[in-house]
Symmetry: C2
Subunit: 193 residues, 2 copies
């Protein structure tokens, strides 16, 4: 499957083991190559546009590189939007506790933006999922933060970890998008590339 | 967490590695002990009641056993309901192809029934999730069946496998329920046990 992209040397520009696992699950052969990118964004950007903007910015970091002609770079960024507040990665333990208290008992949105960048073209898209959290008590939030240390995760949680098992009553939309990569949409875009 | 059930000797009566992984993810210590149970059900049973009925039937198989007083047996059954047809495990390759063609481009329901059985009490509940499949082409269906051989899976697919990555555009409700165990609801029931 995806025979049409076999001519490319695919690079996933993400340190996230979840994204690596998901792209592998699509049957895509790739290598991982990451660059440090300043993850700031214009303060007036609507929350829904932040993840696609950051995925585009991460791809732009490859633009002035001397890349071989057959390169395809895939970048992604995931943000959690609670009300109108964007939750990125928590700064510390207190910030993680604050974020999870904010998500407890509510529905929030998770947006993953993806950019596919080659010599000829650059495509950016994003997918929105809703995640419904049941009420979490302080004990559960502290247990999760202290045992799972979700400091590398937007919104301070991984849906595929204990907190997702016990706390998420439902998802509306793509579950894999919440994990960090909208596999279904990415497959469709790659199929027509 | 779930300190209240630490006094039990928990047994998961399921061969499914997905269920074993999900129960482990809840932080429950358990052993696996399965019994062969005839998985037939009354033909007049409403489709929505089949999975909880079968989980109850699987638990009943332990009733006449000389079990220690501290035993807690957890059984589960998952069925896929397409329209009003119940899709169990496919009989063979052709049956798997037929099931996936039936699910392609449509939304179906997945019901997992769970029974928690101890010396004193027996509780059965079920959770329904909706799964939205995008259109799958014949090539994709054949590729999946021949490479993943989903003959042990209700509806002939595993949402956590390639077909779930590329074909499922969304879920409404619990994703883990589709995998075979409604972790969130199970945690809530165990917490109050």
């Amino acid at each position: 499957m995806l025979e049409n992209i076999k001519k490319y040397n695919v690079v996933l520009a993400s340190k996230s083991p979840r994204r690596q696992e998901l792209l592998k699950g699509l049957g895509v052969d790739f290598t991982v190559l990451t660059k440090d990118v300043d993850e700031s964004y214009p303060s007036k950007l609507p929350p829904i546009d932040v993840a696609p903007y950051l995925s585009w910015k991460k791809a732009k970091a490859f633009e002035n590189q001397e890349l071989p002609d057959d390169f395809m770079v895939i970048t992604a960024d995931t943000v959690v939007i609670a009300g109108d507040e964007i939750l990125g990665k928590p700064k510390d333990r207190d910030d993680a506790l604050r974020m999870l208290s904010l998500l407890s008992g509510k529905t929030h949105r998770v947006v993953t933006g993806v950019t596919i960048h080659t010599k000829e073209t650059s495509k950016t898209f994003s997918v929105v999922s809703k995640v419904i959290f049941d009420l979490l008590d302080c004990q559960e939030i502290e247990y999760y933060v202290d045992n799972y240390r979700p400091f590398d995760k937007a919104g301070a949680y991984g849906i595929q970890e204990w907190i997702g098992y016990i706390g998420v009553s439902g998802v509306e939309g793509s579950y894999f998008n919440v994990m960090g990569l909208p596999t279904h949409k990415l497959y469709k875009v790659l199929k027509k590339f």
